[in-house]
């Protein structure tokens, strides 16, 4: 579009607003040279253009800024200062900001007002319920010396026990092999013929048992056989098997009924002839004496010297005393070395009851 005296105003305004292209600007300049009377008009128009006052500044630009927490940097600074999380340099910066900026100062004052102060008057009512005391734990520390003593003690006791128990086995074996000392009369009787004394006794028994008929004796013999299979020891037989003599005596003679004696009840031995059949009755007469003599109770020991079990009964207390003596000696050594009392008030050795904390 060409410029002329009818449309020059529009071109002058566009020129002032810097909205013309370079060629259009040159065209306007050429038109003003050709029409000098319009030059003054353009100059006045250009002078009316406003120029920015760079001397003006926004003083509270800081307040408009925002940090990532959503607060302005100044507020953030004040909050950190309130929380006592600033370095010395930052504190100085904050104090400067507070002193220079009244709005910051007001905000600071409010923040100080809402800062809580510990209320010292609030105390826990009864602290005694909170105090605790540890229960004392007694710990015994073992040193090598004590462990060595304990090991020696253990070895000594086990060796002594081994020797004693192996000796006992041997004694029992010898005792069983020697018939003259035997406590099992049935075995003895089977091996040896009955002595004359026994024969007399048998005779007495025979007279007692005279009412027994051969048929009854045969029946009893069968019964006794079955019983003898189930019994191992002569003593047990004596205690448990019923006596033929007793049974028949009760039923078939007029003699006064004997008082009950378990030892009198004897089984009939499983023998083939009648004489042997009556042997248990002989044992029934002799057994009570033997039973008294072999009882292991200590008071009976003195009486048993007369019996055939004299030797066996005499050996047991000696071994007991030897073991006790050994244990006493070991205990005394242990107590002296470790200063630990191993026996109780009744002088009994305490073997268990030891606890070890790991």
């Amino acid at each position: 579009m060409n410029i002329n005296r009818h449309n020059y105003e529009e071109h002058f305004v566009l020129y002032m607003d810097n909205e013309l292209s370079h060629d259009e600007k040159k065209m306007v300049d050429l038109f003003v040279q050709q029409n000098p009377d319009l030059e003054e008009e353009l100059t006045m128009l250009l002078q009316s253009k406003l120029i920015a006052d760079t001397s003006l500044h926004f003083d509270e630009k800081e307040m408009l800024l925002r940090t990532e927490t959503g607060f302005s940097p100044s507020t953030e600074l004040l909050l950190h200062y309130t929380d006592n999380e600033l370095s010395a340099e930052e504190k100085q910066q904050a104090e400067q900001l507070i002193s220079q900026n009244p709005s910051v100062k007001t905000e600071w004052d409010y923040l100080q007002k809402v800062k809580l102060q510990p209320e010292e008057n609030i105390v826990f009512p009864d602290k005694s319920v909170l105090y605790r005391k540890e229960e004392p734990v007694r710990i015994i520390y073992f040193n090598w010396k004590r462990i060595a003593v304990a090991a020696t003690l253990l070895l000594a006791v086990s060796t002594a026990a081994f020797i004693i128990f192996s000796d006992k086995k041997e004694t029992n074996a010898g005792y069983a092999a020697e018939p003259s000392k035997g406590i099992t009369p049935s075995a003895e009787e089977k091996q040896q013929p009955a002595p004359i004394k026994d024969e007399n006794q048998v005779a007495v028994i025979h007279t007692k048992e005279s009412p027994v008929t051969p048929k009854e004796q045969l029946a009893t013999k069968k019964e006794t056989r079955s019983q003898s299979k189930n019994t191992q020891s002569g003593i047990i037989k004596e205690n448990t098997s019923p006596s033929l003599a007793d049974t028949q005596g009760k039923n078939e003679n007029n003699l006064p009924e004997p008082t009950y004696n378990a030892n009198m009840k004897r089984p009939i031995e499983s023998t083939e002839n009648l004489a042997e059949l009556n042997m248990p009755e002989k044992k029934a007469l002799t057994i009570p004496e033997e039973k008294i003599s072999i009882q292991p109770v200590t008071p009976a020991y003195a009486h048993s010297l007369q019996s055939s079990n004299e030797l066996i009964d005499a050996e047991q207390p000696e071994k007991k005393n030897a073991l006790r003596g050994l244990l006493r000696k070991v205990t005394r050594t242990f107590e002296k070395t470790t200063n630990i009392k191993a026996t109780d008030d009744e002088d009994r050795l305490l073997i268990a009851g030891l606890s070890i904390k790991l």
Partner: protein, 161 residues
């Protein structure tokens, strides 16, 4: 920690923990129970507790215990607490201490705990984070928001008066 350390801890910090819990719960009996439970736990775990960190440990245990307690109570008394809040809103407090109490009660328990731990005990953001299980930046943001909330409430109440 030894028996001696534990008992020293009772002497030195029982009041502080009690204060912290009481200000949060606003109920003496409950606060006492929480403190006792916290000390009980510390006694049971004393073998694992470092004596130099006993105060932090105590506050951590007490804080967790308190949060558990608040959750339990909230489940039971949610409606009642809501009404109480409404009632207090109708009665503006007339002095700074009361205004602050009121403003504090309007914060969430987490925010309140952060303010109390900071103002009462002077813990750092990092330590508060360890006690409450929050990150350091979370502590900072929550705490600053709480402070601004308290300040705004105070400004608002002063304008009303």
């Amino acid at each position: 920690m030894t028996e001696k350390d534990y008992n020293e801890c009772v002497t030195l910090y029982a009041d502080n923990v009690y204060r912290f819990i009481l200000k949060n719960l606003r109920h003496e009996e409950d606060a006492r129970d929480v403190v006792q439970t916290a000390f009980e736990k510390m006694w049971r775990n004393r073998a694992e507790v470092d004596a130099s960190r006993s105060k932090s440990y105590l506050f951590t245990v007490a804080y967790n215990q308190m949060i558990d307690h608040i959750r339990k109570v909230k489940r039971v008394q949610l409606k009642e607490e809501f009404n109480e809040d409404l009632r207090t809103q109708d009665k503006p407090a007339n002095n700074l201490k009361k205004i602050l109490e009121e403003a504090l009660s309007r914060l969430s328990e987490t925010q309140r705990s952060l303010v109390l731990l900071k103002d009462y005990e002077g813990y750092s953001y990092d330590e508060i984070g360890k006690i409450t299980g929050l990150s350091e930046s979370q502590v900072k943001v929550y705490l600053h928001r709480a402070r601004v909330q308290l300040k705004d409430y105070l400004v608002k109440m002063e304008n009303v008066i």
